[in-house]
């Protein structure tokens, strides 16, 4: 809608950068005097003031009230993360810490993501989250079953996106190996390649015909399949370290906090927001700049997790607009790399050393 970054003089950029960073550190509006004093800018506070006034009219800064300092606007933060930010070089100690925390070998993607979101939260001191993105029109590529007892068995589906899901099916009729084998064969023949929406009455009827009209069984199974597919479709969101939000003054008033908690409850908005992005890089969503107006006064930073060329999840953190972007970006990038590594490396022995 307005000025692109090239229009800004180097000095303006420098000033904006200084203001953003000071504000991130201190949390309070920063004034011209502070900039002149603490910085390499060799000009007086009056000059800074003039520049600040211009930056404000360009939309990069805001003034809470007449006699306060300036605060970066969302647009200001955006420019900062896109072009002004200096890459944060993680210390060896920090990298060691990530490796240490992620050392626990886990096999389930869910658990790895969960753990990673906790680690992200601890390392950045913001609230962490992990999602498995929405995946539309997932279909089943293979069915498998395992008998538990006369009244229950496990139904396993392998989905087109590589996910595997299981469900405990309980029946009040009896079932045995033979019936189950027939069921499995029938499913693999008749109910493969459908997504949740395509499971129709006619599919059920053909399946029922194939299985001597055992409608109880067919109903139970189809219901489970439908549920599993829906779950795969609808994504997942887990949050950790919620209490960390409270240390930031922007979340002590119930307004902002409520919006955030509400968004976490509903999950949909955040899942939508993240599911629609499909890169490999760390993403930064600042306030409600996105089409989705989930988060008004918070920033959401996340990195997609890919495995075998597919986006299988994402981890990220959420915090105030004045987030320590440099550190967060570096941390998530590193952590994300660590996870991809975990997911793609061949399985090792348990780790009983000699």
């Amino acid at each position: 809608m307005s000025a692109n970054s090239n229009e800004l003089s180097d000095r303006k950029k420098l000033i904006l950068k200084a203001i953003v960073e000071a504000h991130i550190r201190g949390g309070e509006p920063v004034g011209s005097k502070y900039i002149t004093e603490s910085k390499q800018l060799s000009c007086s506070s009056a000059t800074i003031r003039n520049e600040m006034a211009e930056l404000e009219s360009l939309g990069y800064l805001e003034q809470p009230h007449t006699s306060a300092g300036r605060v970066p606007s969302k647009q200001g933060y955006r420019l900062y993360v896109d072009t002004l930010l200096e890459e944060y070089a993680m210390t060896a100690k920090e990298i060691a810490q990530i490796n240490q925390l992620m050392k626990i070998k886990m096999s389930e993607l869910d658990q790895i993501l969960d753990k990673a979101s906790k680690v992200a939260s601890v390392l950045t001191n913001y609230t962490g989250f992990a999602i498995k993105p929405r995946a539309h029109a997932v279909t089943v590529t293979k069915y498998e079953t395992a008998l538990i007892d006369a009244h229950s068995f496990i139904l396993i589906v392998v989905a087109s996106n590589g996910a595997v899901k299981t469900r405990n099916v309980l029946l009040d009729t009896e079932i045995d190996e033979y019936v189950l084998a027939r069921l499995t064969a029938a499913l693999n023949e008749l109910v493969v390649g459908l997504d949740a929406e395509q499971i129709s009455l006619s599919v059920m009827i053909s399946l029922e015909n194939r299985l001597s009209g055992d409608s109880v069984l067919v109903n139970a199974v189809m219901k489970s399949i439908y549920e599993m597919l829906s779950e795969l479709d609808s994504g997942e969101l887990k949050v950790s370290g919620l209490d960390r939000l409270l240390q930031y003054p922007e979340f002590t008033d119930a307004q902002n906090l409520g919006e955030l908690l509400g968004a976490f409850e509903r999950k949909d908005d955040i899942l939508d927001l993240i599911s629609e992005i499909d890169g490999e890089d760390v993403n930064v969503v600042i306030g409600k700049e996105s089409s989705v107006k989930v988060i008004n006064n918070s920033t959401l930073v996340f990195k997609p997790i890919r495995s075998n060329g597919r986006t299988v999840g994402a981890i990220g953190v959420i915090g105030p607009l004045r987030m320590d972007y440099a550190r967060v970006l570096a941390t998530l990038d590193n952590l994300g790399g660590n996870i991809s590594h975990l997911l793609n490396e061949p399985k090792q022995l348990g780790g009983k050393s000699q």
Copy 2:
């Protein structure tokens, strides 16, 4: 530690009850005048004052400051819920609402609990939660497997507490039906009846001997088994409707809210607290009166969910001390009954009418 309820005159009880209920409604300290005016007590404010002073010295009331009214103490709330509370009769409408909301037929316990905690939150307007309690020394009673592809299979354990858990096991070596069948047989012979702590090196060695020394496979499997058992041991806690807390002034200050959020993060304390109780009835934990000092200024109400004579979970709500106990107790009781019903009734057809 002090006065039992029989020492209280009927009038004192009536006054205490009136104060508690007024405070629950209004949230503010209630004074002698208010009681005299609005109530059936036929005596003057001065008399009420005298009684209130006594109730305070007995520990049932507290005074925020000299010229404020009285507020029930935790002990006061306790007496109220234990002996003063009038049973809340749910309206037909409310009962219909519960049935409506819980109508969705789901088979997995996890999902039912999850849904129920959401419903509890909606109906009571407090924060809801669902737990699967800790279960110590769970053992495996049966193993089952299902091949997915050459590099992965599903491992299923049926646990001594009736739970069924599955894990996707990935290998970089190849595996086939035959190997899997041998593995399954060996597991069912050698690794049955052990809890997480009893999985030792010697078990692994005997298993490995049985399986032509395939240590990669054995390691992966035993690790998964260990993980599953640990998970079964350690319980689960899910929270819903967190944002509802914010509407109660007692949670607008970061102190209380932080404590609660922290407790939800750690989960342990709350799981401990609830796991140690094994009745059938709705339980009320007021503040940190319990040995576990998790929640200082909140009340936790929950109802165990039983299935086949075993406690398989619990649902509840958490909110301010001045919770609408009557309503909450009735709601949870009803909702709990509804769930037990769901869990124990024979499975129905999918619901295609006619």
